[in-house]
Symmetry: C2
Subunit: 300 residues, 2 copies
DNA sequence: ATATTGTCTTTTATCGTGAAAAAACAGTTT
DNA sequence: AAACTGTTTTTTCACGATAAAAGACAATAT
């Protein structure tokens, strides 16, 4: 079992949805770009669709024979990349508690527990190390630094520095820049979400990420843009884990975002700065309160 | 050939130097901490030293029989880690030119060229990606972003942001903090180097790194501290590569450092800010002028 | 009692291997 | 001739295996 075919399975599922919508399929290369995979994978997908009687396929003639049924889809869990599987397992252990700062991380044990090879775990840990939660001892094991209060403070310090600068850069962007239409669209989505907050409050985290990424991109600095990956990762797990008053928190955040958006549109640097600070301060507060005392007392 | 024994060879060489200085050897565990290796490696070292007639070894009795000769040492190139070897090869290719932005990086080709396995190259690329010079396309190859003017500007922008903040934090440190003695020692080393600049100007780069790392550490923020790795890496290769007016540049930098150190010691935030800005501005200038026009015109 | 050595076990680092996926090339169709 | 399909080659991804190095444990010496 050297490599799972999750790329194919995921693309297959997405292709089924496409089929359901458009009731027809374009050429192989076009389908490739549409699904973000190579033509090799596209052909594997088409071959299977022919086999299961979804389509008739003869060279460029692709006829849809029936609509896709739930059974045609591959199970969701088979479409995840190994990296995602490892990350989830790792974060679950980390947040489930019992993961004290200073504890050492064993590659072999992790690999066995998750049921993957050591190479994948090693590569994951190397990639993960940039989040600042683990650290490698030279020719030795990894050490867990812990999801502590100190970590949250260091993270938010950088976030605030970067976002204030990005927001200022954003406000200074010329009128004809495409970001202003992006911002209008986001504003709209915020208003719609606010109007139906009771039912849709869980959708906020995704919107939040898109909004902040748009702002960070205005910095035109790869280090700032890339740093948002760290923030996004932390907030992603934080949202999953801390459900207390989620609705209220999100409602407040939407309000702050709208003020922030107005400030950006006014291009008044003073207003932008104030709105940005206010929002980041409450975001930090939310993150901090979600760290249990036992955790925050750990040494770093 | 699954794993080279460079850890042993490097520790062996360092142990020879120790032997030469102290003419005696401590216990195995102590030697282990001294050399930064496990006792297993220490015992391998001792076994070889006995074999080559350097020492007599019987349990805790270790008698030095003769002094180490140049021939006793392992060749320097056998003491490098694989990661170092790969990094050097990679950077040589990158700086040797012909490495245009947008060019794709081939793991297999790199591995074959350097004569190592693909796994090591992959791990290197993942680690290296945090420097912002390469980027991975999802389920596909790596892309070189190029050592461009844009890169240098983005790097220095963050550097300046971080160092100004760290310097301010440094100046605010209490009188009894250990950093002040570290700073005094560094000041001294700067003065000594300045006095013998003609002969020792190449030693500056190492001193420069220690000085800036001391300042960054005052931020007490892991992201700021870690970011210095990016700067250090770039400057390390930059120093090797751009030898134009090295002596003059270093002399100027030493002068700026001394003013900077005085400012820190005065604890006057205005002075600190000014000295820091001045030095970082000239550091940026040095880096920028070392990027040839052809490079700076590359798309990013 | 504590530190040190001898021995054994576990973990890390690296490679070669093979399947999945991408990419290149050549031949067809419109 | 431009875009598409069929076929072949190359590259990436992930694994198990193995030597180097670390670490654990028991026996021994101060």
């Amino acid at each position: 079992m050297s490599k799972s075919n999750n790329v194919y399975k995921d693309a297959y599922n997405r292709c089924l949805r496409l089929l359901d919508e458009t009731r027809s399929l374009p050429s192989e290369p076009e389908l490739g770009t549409l699904l973000g995979v190579s033509r090799t994978t596209v052909r594997t997908i088409l071959a299977r669709m022919e086999e299961t009687g979804l389509i008739a396929w003869n060279k460029r003639a692709k006829t849809v024979l029936r609509e896709p049924l739930p059974d045609d889809f591959f199970p969701e869990e088979e479409t995840d990349t190994l990296a995602e599987i490892i990350e989830r397992s790792f974060m679950r252990r980390l947040l489930a508690g019992g993961a004290e700062a200073g504890m050492q991380i064993n590659e072999l044990e992790l690999a066995r527990e998750i049921g993957v090879g050591t190479t994948s775990v090693r590569e994951f840990l190397i990639r993960f190390s940039r989040f600042g939660l683990i650290e490698k001892r030279r020719n030795s094991h990894w050490v867990l630094k812990g999801f502590t209060r100190a970590f949250a403070l260091e993270l938010t310090e950088i976030r605030e520095m970067f976002e204030l600068r990005s927001a200022a850069a954003f406000a200074a962007l010329p009128q004809d820049s495409a970001v202003w239409t992006d911002l209008d669209r986001l504003e709209d989505e915020h208003r719609q979400l606010a109007n139906d907050i009771a039912a849709r409050f869980t959708e906020f985290s995704e919107l939040d990420e898109r909004f902040h990424r748009l702002i960070h991109r205005a910095s035109r600095n790869r280090f700032i843009v890339d740093f948002y990956d760290v923030i996004a990762m932390i907030f992603h797990y934080h949202y999953q884990w801390n459900k207390a008053q989620e609705r209220e928190r999100n409602e407040v955040a939407i309000g702050e975002h709208l003020v922030y958006i107005e400030a950006l549109k006014s291009r008044d640097l003073g207003k932008v700065d104030a709105a940005c600070r206010k929002h980041l301060k409450s975001a930090r507060q939310t993150l901090l309160t979600s760290i249990p005392e036992s955790r925050s007392l750990q040494k770093h």
